[in-house]
């Protein structure tokens, strides 16, 4: 077992790659009564075209299938898996993102029994036509719920406007029509391809003894049979640099317009250290240009262009990346102009100074330290980083090494006007 210590953070991480290819990470946290265990596969909503395990040709599966599969994993012949966790006092859940599907539980008792339930239910698929059809009603309600949610529509509308070809533009849950097409055979095909241990990681954090837990997981995996690890071949379409649509306006029953400015990132082929540096650098630039200490924020808040809902964010994965700046606003036109002006003037005349960088760096270091109190954060973020060959615990050293040139370079990956889009949700015109 590999033992990695981070002296400045007073943390120790244990790691081992098992014979079947499964990566196991264990991070004990002193003083915690809870243990949080996640079992994650590198399979999300964007994985729609691939070569199924044991086959030769590409298939394209219906949209929303990774999420559908996540739902169906909990439903077994003998009943609902939530029941098993419940009896053992664990609270269980799962989520599907663009690139990952994660199953998890947290518990303050019966740690090994619960871990066993998790490993077993994720590694024993059971799908039937009847059960698949039944789930369609529940997921249809989930999709409808998001349809009525203006913030969700705003977020997804922006991504859809940015991307012309890449499947990141497709809603994670699919649509009521696409989930209708899903069959038990589809689920088995996706399961066999993407739920191989070599494509997955287990992360255990909290009140845990690393040696005992590692042995427990090893023994469990030894007792199960898996096929040989195989490289998964996925296919993604060519994505142009420019945004798919420049402007999207959607009418909904809201009181205040919702505005989102999207910036497509044009460098998405990085991994490891380079990816981490770019990810952190773009975030620092956004902090400096749009954060609460920025000239933009000060003026926009004073002029009532933004309110408490103001928020900016950057997402970077292999193959896609985008920054968003969003707020509810009475005046989308002026807000758009203010954001555009901030970006264009920075492109023309770089103003970010060493002092800006130093302050933003301190802020991010503090924020990272704070987030280390949250075992959910560490676990989810660690896994996301790990799947892109990055290490969560390199964040502080990377921030410390960051230079103005890094920031300038990172900014250039999101600053091109042609790769920007504007999404607005406006109140419905009144019928008279």
């Amino acid at each position: 077992m590999e033992k990695i210590t981070f002296d400045n953070l007073q943390e120790t991480l244990f790691h081992e790659k098992l014979d079947n290819g499964l990566s196991v990470y264990i991070l004990p946290k002193r003083g915690f009564s809870k243990t949080y265990v996640t079992f994650t596969t590198k399979y999300g909503s964007i994985d729609r075209t691939f070569i199924p395990r044991g086959k030769k040709d590409f298939v394209t599966v219906p949209d929303g299938i990774a999420h559908f599969l996540e739902h169906k994993m909990f439903d077994k012949k003998e009943g609902d898996v939530f029941q098993k966790f419940g009896v053992l006092g664990a609270s269980a859940n799962a989520f599907t993102s663009f690139t990952r599907t994660s199953y998890l539980f947290s518990t303050t008792e019966n740690l090994y029994e619960n871990t066993k339930v998790l490993l077993d239910f994720v590694q024993e698929p059971y799908f039937t036509k009847e059960k698949v059809d039944k789930e369609k009603g529940i997921i249809a309600q989930e999709i409808t719920m998001y349809d009525d949610n203006p913030d969700w529509r705003n977020y997804f509308g922006t991504i859809e406007s940015l991307y012309k070809e890449h499947p990141v533009r497709i809603d994670i849950a699919g649509t009521i029509d696409t989930i209708e097409e899903i069959t038990a055979e589809h689920l088995y095909e996706c399961y066999e391809t993407f739920y191989h241990p070599s494509n997955m990681a287990v992360f255990v954090i909290g009140a845990v003894d690393p040696d005992e837990m590692m042995n427990f997981i090893k023994e469990d995996q030894k007792g199960k049979e898996f096929s040989e690890p195989e490289e998964i071949t996925r296919e993604f379409p060519e994505e142009p640099l420019e945004a798919a649509t420049k402007k999207t306006v959607l009418e909904m029953d809201v009181q205040r317009p919702k505005f989102n400015f999207g910036m497509k990132c044009n460098r998405t082929d990085l991994k490891g250290e380079d990816m981490l540096r770019q990810d952190l650098a773009v975030n620092l630039v956004l902090d400096i240009l749009f954060g609460r200490t920025s000239e933009f924020y000060t003026n926009a808040y004073k002029n009532n262009l933004i309110d408490e809902t103001f928020h900016y964010d950057f997402t970077l994965e292999k193959g896609f990346g985008f920054a968003t700046v969003e707020s509810d606003t009475e005046n989308p036109t002026d807000l758009e102009a203010a954001i555009q002006k901030t970006i264009i003037s920075e492109v023309e005349n770089w103003t970010i100074t060493e002092a800006d960088l130093e302050r933003a760096r301190k802020r991010r270091i503090g924020q990272f330290m704070r987030s280390l109190n949250s075992i959910e954060f560490i676990s989810n973020q660690f896994t996301a980083y790990n799947f892109n060959d990055m290490n969560l615990f390199d964040v502080v050293p990377t921030l410390e090494k960051m230079t103005l040139d890094d920031l300038k370079d990172a900014f250039s990956t999101i600053s091109s006007v042609e790769s920007h889009t504007v999404m607005t949700i406006v109140p419905k015109a009144k019928e008279n």
Binding site: N8, L9, R30, G31, F32, S33, K34, D80, F82, Q83, G86, V87, L88, G89, A90, S91, A92, S106, T107, T108, E109, E135, G137, I138, I139, Q141, E142, T144, M145, D147, D148, N149, P150, D151, G206, M252, D253, Q255, R256, K258, R292, T293, E295, T298, Y301, K302, D307, E308, D328, R359, K362, R364, I365, G366, M369, R370, L372, N373, I375, K428
Partner: protein, 421 residues
Amino acid sequence: MFKKVVLQKGVNLYIRQTEQFKTITMSIKWISELDAKQAAHRAVLSNVLQDSNAEYREQSELRKALDELYGTVLYLDASKRDNTHIISLNMECVNDEYLSTDGVFNDALKMIQTVIFKPNFKDGTFDESVLRREKRTVIERIRSIYDDKARYAHKRMFDLMRPNSPASISANGTEEDVESITGATLLDTYENMLKNDAVDIYIVGDVKEEEIVEKFKEMFNFQEREFVRKPSELDVYDVKDVKTTFEKQDMKQGKLQVGYSTPVSFYHPDYPKMQVTNGVFGGFAHSKLFMNVREKESMAYTVNSAYAAYYGVVYVMAGIDAELEEKAVKLIGEQLDALKNGDVTNTELEQTVALLSNSIRSAFDSARGQIEIYDQYKYFDADFSADKWIAQWKAVTIEDIKQMASQIKLELIYLLSGREA
């Protein structure tokens, strides 16, 4: 778990020394009586104090100073509990031990001192331009509820079930009340809060108790005060007719809220029994509502029950196809009937107690969770611990659940949807 130090009459400091976290978390709570007009004032006041002060006249200056303190978090918020309004000042900073510098915690305390005692005054009162802006911000916060259909339906349920009562008064007041605030009325509220509110101060982290007490005595000159919290008395609701209200908005899904009244409130000796009863009914993913309405009938993605104990209200929330309202209400009613008939298995009961226990223990794994839970439960027991409360849940029987369920009376069926009424 927390060590209580009385700083002054009406001003208590609660300290929890622990090495569990890499940060120091602090919360100062000002507690007063809940009243719509004052709630509006206090919501705006928390925003105004958070915006700027005599030392940092601009929000950006204050935020820059916080960034220099390794992104120390500092914010105020307005909330309510039972019949009281609470302004909280929350701070979290990195423990100096993890930084190459020291003095972050000290500087953060100085900052808090400035935020509380040296507001951004112009000519003896709050800066008019800041006041105008923050009034608008709070109004926008109130309006935004309409845009979140689930929150809106939830709010409407309390409006309809408990009008003119603490249950339906928002911690932000109403738009009109916010509109009416002037510099002079806000100044009154501020002075009143400093002088008369009960004050509870919480600190969690690797701190030294005596040092903290000394620092507080030196830096925060809180005078003695007299505010006695009186638990609200539940009106006895003799539910005769069930109210049914349908409202229409342009939306796809129906948001169903089913409201029940119960005489068992937070202060009632049966409170833990009612918590368990609600858990079996619809508090978790193994509960009756989830298993029967969602899993068996596939008619909802979200369906769960909650217990607003201070107001004696149990309620069910579900996202459904509006056309299926009647069927959903019937199914929900059947689940409650099952509880009334004692149709509960030992497994269901054990699962519920196990998950309630897990959730309280898990909440204690965050500093904010420790503060918020202790702050509520200290009413019962100054030595409150998760284990003591869990023991009460463990003692609950199926017979208790039967008895509790019989005291849950259907009062309101509310549906918000795109459907014609």
